[in-house]
C-alpha cells in the first residue's frame, strides 16, 4: 500500500515537473480542461483559452464570465465525479488542498497540473506553463511581457515601510514567509513584519505586533474595523495608528490569488505604501 502510494507520488511529480513531456502526452485534439483554482481560471481567461475551459469551481468568479462556466463544486471540496464526467484532458489543482483529489484523479488517468506559485515570478512561470498546456504559448508570453512592463514601470523604493497584514482577529493571524502576499509587499517597496516566520499564516501575539511597530496596517478580514483597531489596549503608539495609515476594504483577491491580477495588487500596494511617489 505504502509503496503504491510512493509510486503514485513519483508519477505525479514527473507529470507536474515536465511541462514539455506533458505537451507531448496531451492528444492533438482540442484540449478540454477543468480549473479547480480561481487564480488559474483567471490565467486561462487572460490568455484567451476560455473556450477550452469546461469546468470551474464556485469560487472562480473572475472575470465575470467565469461564473457562467459549469461548476464542479467548491474550491475546498470539488466533486470528483463531476470532474471526471466532464472528461477533461487536464485538471488544474493546487496543494495541499487538493492533495487527496490529485491522487484519485491519477487513478482515473486524468492529467493534473499542480499550481503552487510561491511568488510573483512563480505566477509568471505558471502563466507560461498554462500557455504551453493549452497551446496558447504566444498569448501567454505576451501577457507575461505586458505584466513585467507594468512591474518595471514602478520606481525603486529606498525607504521600506514596515507592514502588518491582519487576516483574522480571533485568533490574531498574519502572513509569513512563503506566502504569496509576502512577495507582493516586498515588490511594492515594503517589508512584512512577520517575514521571518516560516509559516504561511501564523497566529501571532499582539505584543509582537506592537513591538515590531508597523508603519502601515492592512486589515484583510471580514471584521476589519479601523476604529476598533485604534482602541485596542496597547496599540495606540504604533506608527500606523498614530499616522492613521490603516487600510480596510481592499480587494483581497488581488493579494491572495496568484493570478494575472497580482500586478494590480503590487501597484495598488505600492501606491498605499509610497503615496508621495505617485502624485
Amino acid at each position: 500500500m505504502r509503496y503504491s502510494g510512493c509510486a503514485l507520488w513519483l508519477i505525479m511529480l514527473m507529470v507536474v515537473n515536465c511541462g514539455v513531456h506533458k505537451e507531448r502526452q496531451i492528444p492533438e485534439k482540442r484540449v478540454k480542461c477543468v480549473s479547480l483554482v480561481p487564480s488559474v481560471t483567471e490565467i486561462i481567461f487572460a490568455i484567451g483559452a476560455e473556450d477550452m475551459l469546461v469546468g470551474t469551481t464556485n469560487q472562480c468568479d473572475f472575470p465575470p464570465a467565469a461564473k457562467e462556466k459549469t461548476k464542479v463544486g467548491d474550491f475546498q471540496s470539488p466533486d470528483i465525479e463531476r470532474i471526471v464526467s466532464l472528461k477533461p484532458d487536464v485538471v488544474f489543482a493546487t496543494q495541499p488542498i487538493h492533495q487527496r483529489l490529485i491522487e484519485r484523479l491519477a487513478e482515473f488517468k486524468v492529467q493534473v497540473y499542480v499550481s503552487n506559485p510561491a511568488d510573483v515570478e512563480g505566477v509568471f512561470a505558471e502563466i507560461e506553463s498554462v500557455g504551453v498546456i493549452l497551446r496558447r504559448t504566444k498569448e501567454a508570453e505576451k501577457l507575461v511581457a505586458a505584466l513585467r512592463r507594468r512591474l518595471d514601470s514602478l520606481p525603486t523604493f529606498s525607504y521600506k515601510p514596515k507592514v502588518y497584514v491582519e487576516i483574522s482577529m480571533a485568533p490574531l493571524m498574519s502572513v509569513g514567509q512563503g506566502v504569496f502576499i509576502n512577495d507582493i509587499i516586498s515588490r511594492a517597496g515594503g517589508q512584512n513584519i512577520f517575514q521571518h516566520l516560516n509559516i504561511p499564516y501564523p497566529v501571532v501575539d499582539p505584543e509582537a505586533v506592537v513591538q515590531e511597530n508597523p508603519d502601515v496596517i492592512l486589515l484583510l478580514h471580514p471584521l476589519a474595523n479601523k476604529d476598533e483597531l485604534k482602541k485596542r489596549v496597547g496599540w495606540s503608539n504604533i506608527n500606523a495608528v498614530l499616522s492613521g495609515r490603516i487600510y480596510t476594504g481592499l480587494d483581497e483577491d488581488l493579494f491572495f490569488r496568484p493570478g494575472p491580477r497580482v500586478v494590480d495588487g503590487v501597484i495598488l500596494l505600492a501606491r498605499i505604501l509610497h503615496p508621495e511617489r505617485f502624485r
Binding site: S168, Q211, K231
Partner: protein, 315 residues
C-alpha cells in the same frame, strides 16, 4: 491542619506564583524594564485571563464531580463548554463579538447545554451516571457541530472555529472589551464563591443522595443551582478564551489526592491549581512553537493520559 496538608497548600500556591512569573517573563523580546509598559498592557491582562479561566473551570469541574458523584464530568464533558462556544460563535458571526452580547450569548449557550443534558439524563430512575455522561457527550458533539456550521455558513475561517473550540489566552482587548472582561470575571468569580459557600451541601450530596435528603438538603434545588451557577460562570469565561478542555476534569482530582474529598478544601485548592496549571500550559504553548497552538492541545496532551489513568483505576 496537618503539616503535610500545609505543605501541599504551599506547593500549589508556589506553582501559581511560579507560573504567573514565568508567564510575565515570556513574550516577544523576553523581559526588560525598557518594555515594562508593553508587559503591563499585554502580559498582565493575559495572566489575569489565565488565572480566572483556569480557576473557574477547575472549581466548576470540582463542584460538578462532587454533585454528581462522578469523576468523569466537567464543564467540557457535560457539553457546557461547547454550548458556550456556540453562543460565542453566534455573537461573533452576528457582529456583536465585541459587545456585551458576547458574554451574554456565551453563558446562555452554556446554560442551554446543561439544561439539555439535565433533561436528557433524567430518566425514571433519576439522574444516572451513565445517562449523564452519554447526554453530555451527545450534547457536546451536537453543539460542536453547530459551532462549525455557524462559522462555515457565515464564511469565517476554520482557524477561528478551531480556536473557539480549543481555546487561547491571547485576547485582543479594546478598553471597552477589557472592561467587559473584568465584569465577566467578577461575576464568574462570584459564582465560584457561591459554590464554595455551599461546600457543606456538596460534601453531603457527594456521599449519597439519600444522606443529603435525610439531612434536609433540597437535592433537586441544589443540583439545578449548581448547574446554573457553574455553567454561567464557565460561559462568562469561555466567551473570551474559547473552550479549554481537561483543566476542569483533571485539576479537581489532583486536589482531592492532596487534600481529601472535602469541598471546603477541594474548591479553593482547585482554583489555585487550575490557575497555575493553565498559566503554565499557556507558557508551554507560547514557547514550544513560534506561532502558538490552541491551548487545549497542551491541556489535552497532559489531560488524556490522566483521564486514561482515572478510567483504569477509579471508575
Amino acid at each position: 491542619m496537618s503539616s503535610k496538608r500545609r505543605l501541599s497548600w504551599a506547593v500549589i500556591v508556589l506553582l501559581l506564583i511560579f507560573s504567573g512569573v514565568l508567564s510575565i517573563l515570556t513574550g516577544p523580546g523576553g523581559f526588560s524594564y525598557r518594555i515594562l509598559n508593553q508587559v503591563l498592557l499585554f502580559r498582565l491582562p493575559r495572566v489575569l485571563v489565565g488565572v480566572v479561566a483556569g480557576g473557574v473551570l477547575a472549581v466548576v469541574g470540582g463542584a460538578f464531580q462532587g454533585l454528581l458523584r462522578n469523576p468523569l464530568v466537567d464543564p467540557w464533558t457535560l457539553g457546557v463548554a461547547s454550548g458556550a462556544a456556540l453562543g460565542a460563535a453566534f455573537a461573533i458571526v452576528t457582529g456583536t463579538g465585541s459587545s456585551v452580547l458576547l458574554p451574554v450569548f456565551a453563558f446562555s449557550g452554556a446554560v442551554l447545554a446543561i439544561a439539555l443534558v439535565y433533561v436528557l439524563a433524567r430518566g425514571r430512575g433519576g439522574l444516572t451516571v451513565i445517562r449523564l455522561v452519554l447526554a453530555g457527550v451527545i450534547v457536546s458533539f451536537f453543539f460542536s457541530s453547530l459551532v462549525m456550521l455557524v462559522m462555515v455558513i457565515s464564511h469565517r475561517s476554520l482557524g477561528e472555529a478551531v480556536y473557539l473550540m480549543m481555546g487561547s489566552l491571547t485576547v485582543v482587548f479594546t478598553r471597552k472589551s477589557l472592561g467587559l472582561f473584568v465584569i465577566s470575571a467578577i461575576l464568574a468569580l462570584a459564582g465560584c464563591g457561591w459554590l464554595m459557600v455551599h461546600n457543606r451541601e456538596l460534601d453531603v450530596i457527594s456521599l449519597s443522595e439519600e444522606t443529603a435528603l435525610s439531612l434536609g438538603v433540597d437535592v433537586q434545588r441544589l443540583t439545578r443551582m449548581v448547574f446554573l451557577v457553574g455553567s454561567v460562570a464557565v460561559g462568562l469565561i469561555i466567551a473570551w478564551t474559547g473552550a479549554i478542555s481537561f483543566v476542569g476534569l483533571v485539576v479537581p482530582h489532583l486536589v482531592r489526592m492532596l487534600f481529601g474529598p472535602k469541598h471546603s478544601q477541594v474548591l479553593p485548592g482547585s482554583f489555585l491549581l487550575g490557575a497555575g496549571v493553565l498559566l503554565f500550559a499557556d507558557v508551554l504553548v507560547r514557547t514550544l512553537t513560534p506561532t502558538g497552538l490552541p491551548l487545549s492541545v497542551v491541556t489535552a496532551l497532559v489531560g488524556v493520559p490522566f483521564f486514561i489513568y482515572l478510567l483504569r483505576t477509579r471508575v
